[in-house]
Symmetry: C2
Subunit: 114 residues, 2 copies
DNA sequence: AATAAATATTCCTTTACAGGAATATTCCCT
DNA sequence: AGGGAATATTCCTGTAAAGGAATATTTATT
């Protein structure tokens, strides 16, 4: 099995869309494919990657498979971010802060994760 | 300019290492290359990607270039995670919760983002 | 001005991976 | 048992991207 990280799984646009869709609740492969306008095989393939990354889990119900988000990787991400929050708060009253602020103002590449 | 997302930038192992290294403070290209045992060109290339992703910023000091973390993308990630925290809390007292718990126990792929 | 140090860029090769189309698999239904 | 629906898998192809080696660029130094 390959080495799929949370980041690499979420780096694919359609997979990110799947994750955001599943935020509203569990869905079937067909439903996911339909709502995101993906072909069924691609939906299955992306879900496989998300599954191996541990981002989702499956529940087999007869013919269908219900995919839902798993909580753990998001918590892990949150924990990881924690260490960065500390960084900023520690540096806040640093001497560099003023310079950092100036520097930051010349940078207008404000992109969101999605 | 291409479409580099926070996730795609962090999906590359060495880039993630760079980010975690910079958590301790600004560093020079040479210092980064040395500490992570990367060749200088690769370090430069990765830093370019991180720069375009808006994850880092540069300060030119004579011959050297000091790279440091930018705060914004991490805040954005945090905001994004916020919506997922809500999901879990909303579903906590749901009827599905018990089943979800059972299901989750059969899943032991606990991997952290890094 | 010439040289050296630090960094960026280019070119090349290899590999990973996404999408398309077709096919296999699994499970229900009658 | 046979057919059909839902899903997974395979094969193929094109493309993006990472690493290596070499080279260009910028700035300091003497």
């Amino acid at each position: 099995m390959k080495d799929i990280t949370t980041f690499s799984a979420l780096s694919e646009p359609n997979r990110l869309r799947i994750i955001e869709l599943l935020r509203q609740g569990p869905l079937t492969v067909g439903e996911i494919a339909e709502r995101l306008e993906l072909r069924q095989p691609q939906a299955s393939k992306h879900l496989r990657v998300l599954l191996e990354a541990g981002l989702v889990e499956v529940e087999a119900v007869a013919n269908r498979r219900h995919y839902r988000l798993r909580q753990e990787p998001f918590q892990a991400l949150d924990t990881w971010l924690e260490s960065y929050r500390k960084v900023w708060s520690e540096r806040f009253d640093n001497l560099d802060h003023y310079l950092q602020q100036l520097q930051r103002d010349n940078h207008q590449q404000d992109d969101v994760p999605e």
